[in-house]
């Protein structure tokens, strides 16, 4: 006999309510619902003789199973990370953010080297700052070919903009290798990993965009007030920061979009 639409179906109603309360990845949701249905139907079959009707047996089976809220709370809670897992994810996220920042600094070092070779050391190194006498003596000692303190400081600054930033980039590369290696060992399911990766990418995008805007403004300010000297120092940082912000923003969008949180709202 085909059941009428208004026939009571306690197990179906229970599964609908449980589904609406679960906050699990699709596969885990389907798995729990399949096991729940299997359990409830088996339980109802065992109770039908005692209950008198299948509907009453289903009601009894549902009652013994626990409320949907109780089961959903246990299932959603089982997915939460423990203190150790949360610490590992936090540490990894901070490491990933640091690696991104260091790599952007390394890229700015490469760009500074390019500026040095194309426009000369003045474009990067001639920052409009005054130098104390002790610093002047140091600069003139390591750049004996320089005729003035400003010239020696410019040569030193343009060289440091390359070497120190490249050292930071190298550290970023090493950290990146460590981060990639550790990523596979982190706890979490597919959607939690997407949320984590998307969150880290989003934070990196915001930080790099902020740095890019600040450095671009500093480059413009230097150009307006002092001419081209030292503009490359800021510009070599602004360009990779903005490029990194776009790349990280796209990565964040790609990862977070696949979670499609709006579908949960639409289905309720």
């Amino acid at each position: 006999m085909t059941p009428r639409h208004d026939d009571p179906e306690p197990i179906e109603d229970y599964l609908d309510e449980l589904l609406s309360l679960l906050r699990l990845p699709p596969r885990a949701t389907r798995r729990l619902l399949a096991e729940t249905e299997d359990h409830l139907r088996q339980s109802a079959n065992g109770l039908v003789e005692h209950s008198g009707s299948l509907v009453e047996a289903e009601r009894a089976a549902v009652a013994e199973f626990g409320s949907p809220a109780e089961v959903a709370r246990a299932a959603n809670g089982a997915r939460r990370l423990g203190p150790l897992g949360a610490s590992a994810v936090t540490g990894w996220s901070l490491g990933a953010l640091s690696a991104t920042g260091l790599l952007a600094i390394g890229a700015s070092g490469l760009l500074a080297a390019l500026f040095n070779s194309l426009a000369g050391p003045r474009f990067v190194g001639a920052l409009p700052v005054t130098h104390p006498a002790s610093a002047c003596r140091y600069y003139l000692a390591i750049h004996p070919g320089a005729h003035t303190c400003s010239q020696a400081a410019m040569l030193e600054t343009s060289a440091d903009a390359v070497s120190l930033r490249l050292v930071a980039g190298l550290a970023g590369l090493l950290l990146l290798v460590l981060i990639v290696w550790a990523r596979r060992r982190l706890p979490g399911d597919v959607s939690m990993n997407r949320l984590r990766d998307g969150g880290v990418s989003g934070l990196a995008a915001v930080a790099l965009a902020g740095a890019g805007v600040f450095l671009a403004a500093a480059a413009l300010d230097t150009a307006v007030q002092h001419g081209s000297g030292g503009v490359g120092w800021y510009l070599s940082g602004a360009i990779p920061s903005c490029a990194g912000a776009v790349i990280c923003g796209a990565a964040a969008w790609h990862r977070l979009r696949s979670l499609r949180p709006w579908t949960h709202v639409a289905s309720t």
Binding site: A28, R31, L32, A34, E35, T36, D38, H39, Q42, S43, E64, F65, G66, S67, E70, V71, A74, A75, G77, A78
Partner: protein, 105 residues
């Protein structure tokens, strides 16, 4: 009787120590072995089983029974070690509580 997560996990491992079983049978065994004492909501056992599986303490396989896929859980060697350690800790705790509760002569 209220159960903590650790105690429920330990009892689930103990049930699976004897032989692999599906969820319904695990709950039935839990109830039978406790003589009905641990009458917890049946549905909360499945999330606990999933948690144990994510830790690598148990493993599940699916089999077809009367045309329906049924998931059967079994203990892993890591789960056997966890059960052994859990039993030892439990015995120690129970011994300490028993010593404290003992009526002084």
């Amino acid at each position: 009787m209220d159960l903590g997560k650790g105690q429920l996990d330990l009892m689930l491992l103990a049930v699976l120590e004897q032989s692999p079983a599906h969820g319904y049978a695990i709950i039935a065994a839990l109830r039978a072995r406790s003589d009905g004492g641990f009458d917890l909501p049946e549905g909360t056992v499945y999330p606990a089983l999933h948690r144990l599986e994510s830790r690598g303490w148990i493993v599940s396989t699916t089999t077809a029974v009367n045309g329906r896929r049924r998931r059967v859980y079994g203990l892993t060697s890591k789960g056997e070690r966890a059960l052994r350690d859990g039993r030892r800790d439990w015995e120690r705790t129970v011994g300490q509580i028993r010593a404290v509760l003992a009526v002084a002569p």
